[in-house]
C-alpha cells in the first residue's frame, strides 16, 4: 500500500505547479470566450474569436508570427544540423570550440537584441563598414534590417541563439552514432557523405525534429525579440495580445485572450504534427 502511494507523493509539487499552469491557461480560455463575471460578462460566445479572426491587422500578425517562427526554426535547424555534422566530421565534439558554441545558449534574448541593434541598425557596424568601403554614402541608403516588415532582425537574433542550441542538442547523439554505425557503413564501402545521409542523419532525425518544435513554439509565443526588434506593423501575435491586454478599457481583455487562444491552438497543432512525424520516423527505422 505504501509503495503504491510513493509516486503520487513524489509528484505533489509537480502537480501543484501544473495546476497553477492549467489555471493560467483555463482563465485565458474562459476569458477568450467572453466570460468575465467581474465585468458583468457571463454568456460564453465565440464572438471575440470571430471578430479577431476577421480583423485585417490580426491576419497580418498571424502570418508574420508564423513566418518568423517557421523561418527561425527551419533555418536554425538546417544550419545547426549542418554545422553539427561539420564539427563531428572535424572531430571537434568537445573542448574549446564546444565551449564557444555554448555561449549563445546562456545569453538572454534581450542581450541578443542589443547585439543585433549594434551590428545591423542603420547606425550599426555593418552600415559603417559599407560606408567606409564607399558602397553607401548615407545612413538612409543602408537597408532597414531591423524594425522591418520582413522580420529580418528578429529572425537573425533567433538564429544567433538557436543554431548553437541545435548543435548542443544534437551533437552528443550524432557523434555517438557517427562513431559506431557511421563507421560501420564506411567500412562496408559507403563514402563519408553517404554514411552521413543514409545512416547518421536518419537516426538523429527525432532529436532534430524535437529541436525544431521547441524553437518553433518558443519563437511563436515569445514577446521580447519582436517587441524590441520587430516592425510597428505588422506586430507579432504576443505583442498584439499584450497591447490589447494592457488597454485601459477592460472590455478589450477577451480580444487579448482570443489571440492567445489562437496561439495555443497553433502550438498544439505543431505538437500533434510533431508526434505524428516522430511515430512515422520511428516506425520507418524499425521496419
Amino acid at each position: 500500500m505504501k509503495k503504491k502511494m510513493t509516486p503520487y507523493i513524489l509528484l505533489v509539487p509537480q502537480l501543484i505547479l501544473g495546476v497553477v499552469f492549467i489555471i493560467g491557461l483555463g482563465t485565458g480560455i474562459i476569458q477568450s470566450l467572453g466570460v468575465i463575471p467581474a465585468f458583468g460578462l457571463t454568456e460564453p460566445t465565440l464572438k471575440y474569436y470571430k471578430e479577431v479572426l476577421t480583423r485585417p491587422d490580426l491576419l497580418q500578425s498571424l502570418k508574420y508570427s508564423l513566418y518568423i517562427a517557421f523561418m527561425s526554426a527551419f533555418l536554425a535547424t538546417v544550419t545547426g544540423t549542418f554545422l553539427c555534422a561539420v564539427l563531428v566530421s572535424a572531430g571537434k565534439v568537445r573542448g574549446i570550440i564546444m565551449r564557444i558554441v555554448q555561449i549563445p545558449i546562456i545569453v538572454p534574448h534581450v542581450v541578443v537584441a542589443l547585439f543585433i541593434v549594434n551590428i545591423l541598425s542603420q547606425n550599426g557596424i555593418l552600415a559603417r563598414i559599407l560606408a567606409n568601403a564607399g558602397l553607401i554614402t548615407d545612413q538612409q541608403q543602408f537597408p532597414m534590417l531591423i524594425y522591418d516588415r520582413y522580420g529580418l532582425g528578429v529572425i537573425l537574433a533567433y538564429l544567433w541563439k538557436e543554431i548553437p542550441f541545435i548543435i548542443y542538442f544534437v551533437i552528443a547523439l550524432m557523434a555517438n552514432i557517427n562513431g559506431s554505425l557511421g563507421e560501420a557503413a564506411t567500412n562496408l564501402g559507403a563514402n563519408k557523405l553517404q554514411a552521413f545521409m543514409n545512416v547518421t542523419l536518419p537516426l538523429c532525425m527525432n532529436t532534430v525534429l524535437s529541436g525544431f518544435l521547441i524553437i518553433f513554439v518558443f519563437a511563436l509565443g515569445a514577446y521580447e525579440l519582436p517587441f524590441i526588434l520587430g516592425a510597428t506593423t505588422p506586430k507579432a501575435l504576443p505583442v498584439l495580445a499584450y497591447l490589447e491586454y494592457t488597454k485601459p478599457d477592460l472590455r478589450a481583455r477577451p480580444y487579448a485572450m482570443a489571440i492567445n487562444g489562437i496561439l495555443i491552438v497553433i502550438s498544439l497543432i505543431a505538437a500533434v504534427l510533431y508526434y505524428i512525424l516522430l511515430r512515422r520516423s520511428t516506425k520507418k527505422l524499425a521496419g
Partner: protein
C-alpha cells in the same frame, strides 16, 4: 580514425566562431563609448561616464544583483528538487495516470509562456502574489521545471535502479539507499539541471514584467528600457554584468562537478 585535414571544415567552423564572438565584442566596446559619430568605425570618445554613473549608485546595483541572483538561484534549486522527484516517479514507478502526469510536466514546453502569464496574472493578483518575489519565483519555476525534469529523467533512466536495489539487499533502508547511493550518482546531472533552470529564470523578461509588475527588479527588467531609449552604453553595461554573472555561476558549477567527480573516483577506485 585517420582523417586528412579538411580546409573547408576549418573555414566553416572559423566563420561560425567569428559570428558568435563578434556580437559580444560590440557590447564591450559600447561599455566605454561616449560619442561614436557616423560613419567612423571606432568611437571618437571613450569615457567611463556611464560606468561611473552605474557604480555611483552602488547600493542599487548590489540590490539588483542580489534580487536577480536570489530569484534565479531559488528557482534553480527548487527546479532540481522537484525535477528529481518528478523524474523518479515517472522513471521508477508504474502507476495510474502516469501518462497524464508526464504530459503535464511537459506542457509548458508546448504552450507559450506569454499566454500563461496573461492568463494567470489575475489569479496572482487575487492571491496577493502579484508584485512579490515569491510570485515571480513561482512563475519562473513553472517555465524552468520542464528543462530540469527532462534532464533528470535522462539521468535517472541512465542510472537505473540496480545500484539502489543492491544497497537495499545489503540492508540499507529506502531513504538511506536513495541518499547514499542514488543521489551522489545523480549529482552531476542535478548540477546541469540547476544551470539550465538558472539560465531560463535569469533570462526571463515578460514573465517578470507581468507578475513582478515593476516591483521586482531583475537585470532584464532594468536593461530593456535603456534599449528602447537608445542609451546603448547603459544597456551594454547591464548586459556585460548579466553575462559575467552567468559565466561565474557556470564556472563555479563546473568546478564543483569537476571536484566531485574526482572525489568520487578516489573514493571508489
Amino acid at each position: 580514425m585517420k582523417r586528412k585535414k579538411n580546409i573547408w571544415e576549418g573555414l566553416i567552423i572559423g566563420i561560425f566562431i567569428f559570428l558568435v564572438i563578434v556580437p559580444i565584442l560590440t557590447i564591450l566596446v559600447w561599455v566605454g563609448t561616449e560619442r561614436w559619430a557616423w560613419p567612423s568605425l571606432i568611437p571618437q570618445k571613450f569615457s567611463m561616464r556611464a560606468v561611473n554613473g552605474i557604480l555611483r549608485n552602488r547600493q542599487q546595483l548590489v540590490r539588483l544583483c542580489m534580487s536577480s541572483l536570489f530569484i534565479s538561484a531559488s528557482v534553480a534549486f527548487l527546479s532540481v528538487v522537484i525535477g528529481t522527484m518528478t523524474a523518479r516517479a515517472l522513471e521508477c514507478y508504474d502507476f495510474f495516470g502516469k501518462r497524464l502526469f508526464s504530459f503535464m510536466s511537459m506542457l509548458p514546453f508546448l504552450v507559450p509562456g506569454t499566454v500563461f502569464a496573461m492568463g494567470v496574472q489575475i489569479t496572482f493578483i487575487k492571491c496577493g502574489l502579484s508584485g512579490t518575489v515569491q510570485g515571480v519565483i513561482i512563475v519562473h519555476l513553472i517555465c524552468s521545471l520542464p528543462y530540469a525534469v527532462t534532464l533528470m529523467q535522462d539521468g535517472t533512466r541512465a542510472m537505473g535502479v540496480k545500484l539502489e536495489e543492491q544497497a537495499r539487499v545489503l540492508g540499507a533502508g529506502a531513504l538511506q539507499a536513495f541518499f547514499k547511493v542514488t543521489l551522489p550518482n545523480l549529482f552531476p546531472v542535478m548540477l546541469s539541471a540547476f544551470s539550465m533552470a538558472f539560465v531560463v529564470s535569469f533570462s526571463q523578461y515578460f514573465l517578470t514584467l507581468m507578475i513582478g509588475g515593476g516591483n521586482v527588479k531583475t537585470f532584464a527588467i532594468v536593461m530593456v528600457p535603456y534599449l528602447g531609449s537608445g542609451e546603448r552604453n547603459f544597456a551594454s553595461i547591464y548586459s556585460v554584468i548579466f553575462l559575467v554573472i552567468m559565466l561565474l555561476v557556470f564556472g563555479i558549477l563546473e568546478w564543483i562537478v569537476g571536484r566531485f567527480t574526482k572525489a568520487q573516483e578516489v573514493e571508489y577506485y
